[in-house]
Symmetry: none
Subunit: 216 residues, 4 copies
């Protein structure tokens, strides 16, 4: 027995509409997915932010992307300490079990998590520094990124920290032995992307210039 109640009617109505159209038009494919299991070609790590519509941006059909979403699309460093690490579990499952070919870290502009991290690290958000703040402790993962941008002109720090949220995650991914090995053996490729919500554009990390360039 718990507190859960029925779905609001507008969601029920949309679900019936989805089932009568997208599902029925594609039901053969859905049954195949259920019987054969998923074989996604890529894992995407994105923010929970409601403005980041991963499958829409990339025209992905059901079954194409294995998607983990957390605050600020962060990946913590490898820490096999027996504790619960939801992000590390998702990466482990995607790389070792599903053997995805691509792992995309998808950041975005106007990220509340990044803004909170900036406020916390610059001493303007004492509440986030409290031990009991889950958001604060989660954003600690991005502190090394803050250190790299703290010297920039203030007006440039937030955008730079949004880029760092992608770069720090990419760096931490390589601290996982199974990720490092899969990349070294050519079984996995990593990608770092930043989505500009207002402009609808994408930038991606280019390791030749060691920076972000527009996706063209």
């Amino acid at each position: 027995m718990n507190e859960a109640g029925p779905l609001p009617q507008y969601l029920v109505q949309r679900y019936h509409g989805w089932r009568a159209t997208a599902f029925l038009e594609n039901r053969v494919w859905y049954r195949r997915l259920a019987e054969d299991g998923q074989h996604p070609r890529a894992m995407v790590i994105a923010c929970c932010d409601s403005r980041v519509h991963v499958t829409s941006i990339f025209g992905a059909d059901t079954g194409e992307f294995f998607i983990h979403r957390n605050i600020a699309n962060l990946v913590p460093p490898y820490a096999p300490d027996g504790q619960q690490h939801g992000t590390s579990a998702a990466v482990e499952y995607a790389v070792n079990t599903l053997k995805v070919a691509h792992l995309v870290v998808l950041g975005h502009t106007n990220c509340g998590g990044v803004q909170g991290c900036h406020a916390m690290c610059s001493g303007h958000a004492p509440a986030l520094e409290e031990k009991t703040s889950f958001v604060g402790r989660w954003m600690d993962i991005l502190r090394p990124g803050y250190e790299r941008v703290a010297g920039l002109p203030p007006e440039r720090q937030i955008r730079a920290l949004e880029h760092q949220a992608v770069l720090v995650s990419l760096e931490n991914l390589l601290t996982f032995p199974f990720v490092k090995n899969a990349v070294a053996s050519g079984d996995l490729s990593l990608h770092g992307v930043l989505h500009d919500i207002a402009e609808g554009t994408l930038q991606q990390y280019d390791n030749q210039v060691d920076g972000f360039v527009p996706v063209v």
Copy 2:
């Protein structure tokens, strides 16, 4: 400098197609979302599984759902221990900062995480019991659910455990003081849903029968 490389061209092509259609047709709304920030009406906690297309099932537009996705849509118990808890951070941000009205835990059939948990708890997956298994330690969250279904006929245990993945998460959500208070004050409603991938149907938890019933 890191290992990340450019996106595959088929994703670049689809992104350009998205920008020229969905984005441009809706750019006023995207601009608004960027300037005013997000105001999602619901948080959805779903599985990373590529076959669970949250926004499609519920016809959600960009900006509607704050979405956290992890292995088996699990929520751990409240543990303000100063460690990194990505799921707890997402729930805290959704409830305390975004003040969402609905929190939906969306489970699904054919869940690899649930099947792994069943194998582990029934002694058939020693590798998942190792301290270094991120998936194994993450699925420990569902062990209390396994205890409840272990006495059922074997052929019914997996489906029952899929239901437990939703119920255990709902129960753990109520161990968070800010969730319990928001529910008590009528500011937040919880919902437990199971999506059948092959049939395209939804079941939801009904607290009057203390079980799952079809969404009609």
Copy 3:
């Protein structure tokens, strides 16, 4: 020993460009495709016409579509006579071995094969009626379609015959027992589409109106 010579340099140059970009950016996926084999979700039967760019229209990545292309996207009736039937072999392989979920017959406007069939059936192309004309004999498959449009005003017959090239193929597909069974069991869905080359639009067969309607 035969007459074959080296590829023209412009094709060699483009191949090197493709390998240095699209291939290398996606090489993990290509290796996976080679090792695991193909698992396309759809078969497309299209015309050989150089103006029909199947993968581009549908943003299909390598590995997504099993594609058979012949003159006028025709499927002959089921004829297990021990002769060589390339189209029937492709359909058999897609449905029985690959078990694709969707089979799309993609016709197009301005089809030279359809125009030739119309000229032949209306008595204006004696050369195509000769036993030795491979194109003529191949277009015999569409003769039943011509009979249905012969009574229309002349200016409407060609477009109607382009539609028939899709419809006759769909009808012939259902004469194959394994296609009929797969459709009946819900393991395969058929789709009939006409692509307008000049307008860049698609029409699809709608069995509720028993005609073609714009894809919107």
Copy 4:
């Protein structure tokens, strides 16, 4: 009236994206192609395999290649018997009507059709030997190629048969009088290419060494 249903929505979405970008940016060219008809400079005979992306490998724009795709990129011998020969019809149309300058037979590694032919000819696939097997009867075209490789060490036979699928087709092409004449008069050049899916490389037949050499 038939069984065909609407396209899955993810394909519809991608089509709209294609039309708003690739098509509209190039609509003058598409209009020209529709009004003036196609004038492709080459015909490509490739396999239906979803992993062979002909236009991508050669950077072909809409209108450049007249493409016939069948199982294992095979061309049967000249047989003007009044039966339906889809491949012969495509070759006849490309050489006599479109007067293409190049005819490329594009084979590939990991070909299921070639593997099936090898199993059948070596007595390991009785089902393919049945009169009613369309794939088996189609692969009979490659039997002469199997005879040439049957004496090789087993581990080399498949790759050798993949080469034969190209060579036998080139040889059969020259049994067509109109092909032989076009080649003799210098109006048509033939090319034999093998695409390695895992490596992304091309080999082409070199008649000076009577074998395949890397395309450099």
